[in-house]
Structure formats: structure tokens, C-alpha cells
Assembly symmetry: C2
Homo-oligomer: 141 residues x 2
């Protein structure tokens, strides 16, 4: 599905994404990542071929969850849960990290901090379903 | 394992927990929950017998992830990922929700907001392993 404008705004506000992938034994693996949007896919970058990358290559099912800074009518923190299908492409990670660092750390920061980082990997996620509490679910809050 | 003091402080600061459980088809399910600590287990309360409760009854593997308000030496947001084994007990949910609401919403709030809520369910999680970025991992940050 296309990324609805309410979710696009939440992602571009610099919320961290809790990303769930599945290990070989079926257990869930979770880390925090920076995310952006390219061509209606959600993207995240990784310098090493880490556990997330290996998990997605085996099983493309991923979930991202993001906490908003807004509250529902009941005073509950709004959040988005994004169920998606992911694929990995090689290269381009330092450039994407540098771009996202300006949102997540601040303007003018150099990230990755080292010279000559490896080309790395990009996770590209097609959104299948959106849940949570907030205007991005399409349900009343 | 016992809950280390650094993680206890993070939990008691009122961080929301992103809780991952596993659906019958092995896919991950994620929602946001309020959590507390009882007898060295992490606890969360649910009024209905929702998807989380049914998933844990089938497969006790859960992951909680919490964003801290602190930063690492590289300017990255610290966070905890808690891998655990969960069990469900019946009853006591309104009382636990009322207690947690004072942390997560504010003193004096009535939660659940309705009269005569059902007894509900409590998820009790034994911590098996802690990952993430921050002092609770035991690794340098």
C-alpha cells in the first residue's frame, strides 16, 4: 500500500523505529533504527551485514513500531505499528545514514563518524498494514 | 535473571514498552503497553483476552523494547531490548492498570475509565537476556 500522509509525517518527524525481524529459530529480534522514505518504501541503513540483514534475507516479514509525541482522547500515547515486507539491497548505507543523521542527531553532524565506511546494506520495506493508536490507522482515536 | 538496577530505573521512569509476541503463523505482533515490576518479573495488564494474551498462551517467547531519554557517547538514543519468557495469569488487571496509570498518565487519574471493568489478565515476564544501547546491557556505550 502507499504510505498515508499521516504516517509519512510521523516518520519524517524523526521518530525512532523499533524493528522486529525473525531469527532462524522463529524467535523475534529487535533493535532501534533510523528510517526514511524512498519511492513509497520505508528505508533503513546498516554498515555491517548484521543479524537484521541476515534475518530479512531468510524471512521478509518485518514490523516497525514508532511512538508519537501526541496523545489520544483517553490520554494514551499515540503510536504506529507498521507490518511490512522487506528486501535488502547492497551499497548506499553511508549516504543514507548521513542524510538521516541530520534528522536524528542534528544538522552538520558527520555520520558514520569514521572515514571510508563500508558500502553496507539498505533495508527497503513495503507497507502491508498499519495498526496502533492514531490518525494513521484510519480508526477513531 | 534478576532485573539489574539500571533496567529497573528505566522501567520505573514510565517508558512505554513495545511488546512483540508471535502469532500462530509465526509472524510477529506488536503493541505498546505500560509495564511495572512485581517479584522480579515485568508485568503488563490487559482487560480483554486480546491477541497478545492468546499468543503468549501458545508461545511464551516475548520481546520488550524501551526507548530511554538518554544519549550514548555517539549521540545515539539509548534503548533496552528485553528478551523474556512470559506467562498469563487471570484477574487483577484493573488494579495494575490503575497503579500504572499514575506513572504513565498522571496522579489522580481513574483508569480504566469505566465502572466495573472485567478482571482481565496479567502478563508476567521473566527476563532472559538484555540487549540494546545503554548501561543495562553491561557493555560500554
Amino acid at each position: 500500500m502507499l504510505i498515508p500522509p499521516e504516517l509519512r509525517s510521523l516518520i519524517e518527524s524523526g521518530c525512532h523505529a523499533h524493528i522486529v525481524t525473525l531469527n532462524a529459530d522463529g524467535s523475534p529480534h529487535v533493535t532501534l533504527v533510523w528510517i526514511g522514505i524512498e519511492d513509497d518504501e520505508i528505508v533503513a541503513a546498516h554498515l555491517p551485514r548484521n543479524q537484521k540483514v541476515r534475518n530479512i534475507e531468510r524471512d521478509p516479514r518485518v514490523v516497525l513500531s514508532l511512538e508519537a509525541s501526541t496523545k489520544s482522547n483517553f490520554g494514551l500515547t499515540e503510536y504506529a505499528v507498521i507490518y511490512g515486507t522487506a528486501r535488502i539491497t547492497e551499497g548506499g548505507a553511508p549516504e543514507l545514514l548521513q542524510k538521516l543523521a541530520e534528522t536524528y542527531i542534528g544538522l552538520g553532524v558527520k555520520f558514520p563518524p569514521m572515514d571510508n565506511p563500508p558500502p553496507g546494506y539498505i533495508t527497503r520495506i513495503r507497507v502491508d498494514r498499519i495498526d496502533g493508536v492514531g490518525p494513521w490507522t484510519g480508526r477513531p482515536v
